[in-house]
Structures are given as C-alpha cells and as structure tokens.
C-alpha cells in the first residue's frame, strides 16, 4: 500500500467508525455542566481574606497535634492520651457503629430476599421463563405485567434518598434512639441490594430454574430452591461490600447525635481538633482493616 492509499483507507475507516449521537450529546452536556460548575463557583475559596484563611489553617493544624505532645514536645506522651480516648468512649462508639451497620444490612437483606423474586424479569410474569401455563388474561395478566416494574421502581426510589437524610428525618419523628439510624441504612440499602442482587439473578443462567418450573414447581419454590442457592455466593459478595459501606455510613450518622464515632467527632469539633483527628483515624483504621479482610473474603468466595 502506498502512503496515499493508506491515508485514504485510514480516513475511510475513521468515517465508518460507530457514532452515537446520544453519547455525543451526553458528553457535551457533561462538559458544559463541568465548566458551569467551575465558572459559577465564585469566590472559589470563600469570602474570608487570605490572611484570615491562613490564620485559620495555622490554628487548625496546630490543634491537630495531641495536647500532651503540644505541652511536652514528646510523642511518647501521646500513647496514654490515645489509650484514654479509646477506653473512654472511643471503643464503645466503634462497637456501636458496627452493631448498627450489621443490624441494618441484615434487616435490609431479609426484606430484599422475598421482594427480589417479584422484581425478576424472568420469574415475575405471566409466563415465567417463557413457559405458558394456560390462559391468563384480564386483571391477573395486567397484575403480573406491572408487578416487576413497580418493585424495581421501588428500589430506585428507596436508594435515591441519601441515608443521612432519611436518618435525619426519622430522628425527628422517632426521637433520639438507635432505630432511626438502623432504619435509614436499611431503607437506603434495600434499594441498592435490590439493584445489585437483581443483576445477579438476571445474569445467572436459568436452565435448572426453567426445568423445575416446567416440571410443576411454583414460582416461589423455583426461586427458593434453584435461583437463590445458585446466586448465594455472589449475593454474599455484594452483601459484605454493602456491609462495609454501612459501617462507614453508620460512623457518619452519629453526627446527628447518637453514640457512634460521628457523635464524638462532632463533639470534639471546634475545641479539640486533636481528639477529632484521633476519632477520624480510629474509624479510618477500622475500615482499612475491614477493606483488607473483605478483599480476602471476596477472593475466596469467587
């Protein structure tokens, strides 16, 4: 091939490449939105003067050093200080955080499991797996037709409100107790687990389920004896992933005033930056450990 022939061929190929107007317009919208976000965020650094900001920053970063160390200049003194913070509330808060997250994720998993069957595109219809079992029409047929979309939309709705917001609203209704936090996490994760687990059961091949349904089992039995056990491992992967996220979120929900790390962080904010940093790092360390162990667990489950 000569150079010109190659050039024309390349041009031709370039012209033939798939073009998608929807994607182009989406990209354009995103691009414009990003420019708009930066241009209109004025003043970008806030209204404080530069010198005030610098003062703030200095005070803040000085405050981050543990108070005994600030006095003596010796980092050894930070150890008893940290131990005291850990035993005086820190540890309890950590355990409470984990407890709330665990209760919430199990609760939402327990609700999602039965509902999930109703959201399945292949099971929740008049003719599951394309197998017709007689004439069904009228309201029953319509009922089967709209059940799946309604449940799936329910998933979208419940995951669209951030858990922090749900917790805030529920706290003002139910008063200061643990339930609002658990419920908030459970409601939000109901939608997310519904979507993630839904994907799993849509992607699992269903020959055994088809077989069982064809041989006369009900939808419920097919779901419980074939679809569920086959997808369980991947369900657990997502379950642990969400559990991990729940712990992180539960930490922060404490900022609304209940005894998780978030509350301690909120209480020490403004006066004891060193304590605040300690609690932040405590939570962070815990999540790092969780992260490592869940990566390990995920590898084993796969």
């Amino acid at each position: 091939m000569t150079n010109t022939a190659r050039a024309t061929r390349i041009e031709e190929l370039a012209r033939q490449r798939p073009r998608d107007w929807f994607l182009r317009i989406s990209a354009l919208v995103v691009g414009i939105a990003i420019c708009w976000a930066w241009v209109t965020s004025h003043p970008l650094l806030g209204r404080l003067s530069a010198s005030r900001r610098w003062e703030n920053l200095q005070r803040f970063s000085e405050g981050l050093i543990p108070s005994p160390v600030r006095k003596s200049g010796d980092w050894i003194d930070a150890i008893p200080w940290a131990w005291e913070l850990l035993t005086d509330g820190g540890f309890v808060a950590l355990v409470t955080t984990v407890g709330i997250a665990t209760a919430a994720i199990i609760l939402s998993g327990a609700v999602v499991l039965p509902v999930l069957a109703m959201a399945s595109r292949r099971l929740s219809r008049v003719d599951p797996f394309g197998l017709r079992t007689g004439k069904v029409g009228g309201s029953l047929g319509l009922g089967w037709k709209i059940l799946g979309p309604i449940v799936r939309f329910g998933f979208v709705l419940s995951r669209s409100v951030p858990e922090y917001l749900i917790a805030f609203l529920l706290l003002s209704l139910l008063g200061l107790q643990v339930w609002p936090l658990v419920l908030a996490l459970a409601i939000h994760n109901f939608g997310i687990l519904g979507r993630l687990w839904g994907e799993v059961i849509e992607n699992t091949d269903d020959d055994s389920a088809t077989h069982l349904y064809g041989s006369g089992l009900s939808r419920t039995s097919v779901y419980a004896t074939s679809i569920l056990p086959r997808s369980l491992n991947r369900f657990l992967i997502y379950f642990f992933y969400r559990w991990e996220t729940c712990i992180k979120d539960a930490t922060v929900l404490g900022m609304l005033g209940l005894l998780t790390l978030g509350k301690l962080i909120m209480l020490s904010k403004g006066f004891f930056w060193d304590r605040m940093l300690f609690y932040v790092l405590l939570g962070s360390c815990f999540i790092l450990v969780m992260d490592l162990s869940s990566t390990w667990l995920r590898k084993r489950l796969r």
Binding site: D20, F22, L23, S26, A33, I34, W36, A37, W38, T40, S41, H42, L44, L45, G46, L48, R52, N56, L57, F60, I100, T102, A103, I106, L107, V156, L157, S160, V161, P162, Y164, L165, F168, L169, L173, L174, G175, V178, W179, V182, I192, R195, L196, E199, L232, L236, K248, D249, V252, M255, G262, I265, K269, V280, G283, S284, C285, L288, L292, R298
Partner: protein, 292 residues
C-alpha cells in the same frame, strides 16, 4: 441438580449462612436495645408529628409555610430548583476533579502496563509505587466524604472549593480502585500484539488497553456521579448550600410540606440521572457494573 448424597456439605453450608445472619441480627438488636416498641412513637406529641409528616407527603408545599418569608422572596419551587442546581454543581465539580485523579491513581495502581522484561530494580520500584497507590486509595476512601468536608471546612473555611475537594477525595479513592480492577480485567490480546511490534509500555497501555476498558470506565464513573449527587445533597448538613441545607432548615421549623417539596425535587433529579445513566449504559453496551 447436585446429588445431596455426593455433596453433603453443599446444602448445609448455605443454610447455615441464614442461621448465622439471623443470630447475628438478634445479638445486635439485643446489644443496641432495638425493640419493636421503639418503632412506635412514644407519646401523643410524636404521634401527631409523625402523622403530620406523612400527611404532608400528599400535599407538598407550593408556597412557603413560613409566614415571615418576605413578599418579594422567590417562590419555593424556584428556591428548590436552585438547590437542585447547587447540588448538581458540587457533584459535577467534584467528579471533574475525582475522575482525572482516579485515572492517575488507577494507572499506577494497576499492573497491566508494566514492561514485561523488567530489571530487578525497576520491578521493585514499580511494586513500591503500586503498593503506595493502593494504600493511598484505600486511605482516601476509608474516610467518609462528610468527615472530609468537616475537616476541609474547619481548615479552609466555608467555600465551594472545600466542598468539591472533600467530595472528590473519597470518590477518587473508590473510582481509582475500580478503574484499576476494570483495567486489569480487560483482555490483553491487543496489548500483546502492540508490544510484539515494539511499542513501549505506556503506549501499549494508552492505545491497547485503555480504549477497550473505556466503556466500563465511563459506565462506572456515571454511577459514581449518581452517588456524588446524593453526597452533595448531604453536604448541606455541614453548612454548604445544597438542597440538604434547605431540607434541614425546613425540618427544624417543622415545615414538613416544604420538606416534601424539596424531597420530591431531589428524588426526581436522582431518578432522571439514573435513567440517563441507564441509557448511556445501553448505548455503550456495557452491563450494569456492580459497585465493587
């Protein structure tokens, strides 16, 4: 179907998962004092408030409930839409910082581009960079965006940049981790071919691996954008002006109908973005990427 007689442990294991989870739940409920009674509002006041809250869901406010709002104030719907725009603004700003950072972190936290015949010393260096990037990503995402926001607002004062950076940090950690995994999972045949005809490692990565992983990267970024929207709404609770701030203020005054107006706007925005994402996914022909 596997024969239970030949696979005795098969059924037992799966059943135990449920038993253990129920048991763990009961322990947690006991330890936290979660009783069914806690779910029922305790006195007449609370009953009244709860009833009012849920009734308000049917009649979201189209006008301010607060009588002290000045006559010339903008209508509540305009204010709500402005809140939505501000929420979008922080999410877009944060993602425009997070995605490039994540690409960089994801690149150094992935082994796909490592040159194959590689000296001992440079391999050790690559390993160190790899481990450092992975750790950095884990650390960034181990702190919740609200706490990052709290730290940044304390250090820098309330400013748009602080909010965006606070959102961008944990998001770049998560995005980077998933990017590196998506890149590592992509088939390497094109890259091998390019390498065989003498391309360098970085060229191979940019031409052979990255374009192939691109649809998945875009899909995942868009999903995270949705998450960023939610987080951005919540930033309102630490004092940055987004829809969350309006919800908080209205709720504190018990203007539940206003709360629902804002909530409906927020839900509508998220549902629309969710549908947009689904369409992008369909056009890119990628599967719904899980969030791991």
């Amino acid at each position: 179907m596997p024969d239970p007689a030949t696979e005795p442990s098969y059924y037992g294991k799966k059943r135990w998962v449920f038993f253990v989870l129920v048991f763990v739940f009961l322990i947690c409920a006991w330890a936290l004092g979660l009783t069914p009674r806690g779910l029922i509002p305790s006195d007449v006041n609370q009953w009244d408030r709860t009833a009012r809250f849920f009734q308000a869901a049917l009649h979201p406010a189209l006008d301010y409930e607060d009588v002290n709002v000045p006559e010339d104030a903008e209508p509540i719907l305009v204010k709500g839409l402005k809140g939505i725009l501000l929420t979008l603004k922080f999410a877009f700003g944060a993602m425009s910082l997070a995605v490039p950072t994540a690409l960089l972190l994801g690149f150094f936290g992935s082994s796909a581009w490592w040159p194959e015949p590689c000296g001992k010393r440079s391999k050790a260096l690559l390993r160190v960079v790899y481990a450092a990037c992975r750790f950095l990503m884990s650390f960034l995402r181990s702190i919740h965006e609200l706490i990052w926001a709290l730290l940044f607002l304390s250090a820098m004062g309330v400013s748009p940049l602080a909010g965006m950076v606070a959102l961008a940090l944990p998001f770049s950690g998560t995005l980077g981790k998933v990017f590196s995994e998506l890149i590592d999972e992509e088939a390497r045949d094109a890259a091998e071919a390019l390498k065989a005809i003498g391309h360098g490692p970085v060229q191979t990565f940019l031409v052979g691996i990255l374009p192939r992983a691109m649809p998945n990267l875009i899909t995942y970024s868009f999903y995270r954008f949705e998450c960023a929207l939610r987080s951005s709404a919540v930033l309102g609770f630490v004092g940055i002006e987004t829809i969350g701030l309006y919800i908080q203020l209205s709720n504190e005054e018990f203007y539940y109908r206003e709360v629902w107006t804002y909530l409906y706007l927020l839900i509508a925005m998220i549902v629309i973005v969710d549908r947009w994402g689904a369409m992008i996914r369909r056009h890119l022909q990628t599967k719904e990427g899980g969030c791991i």
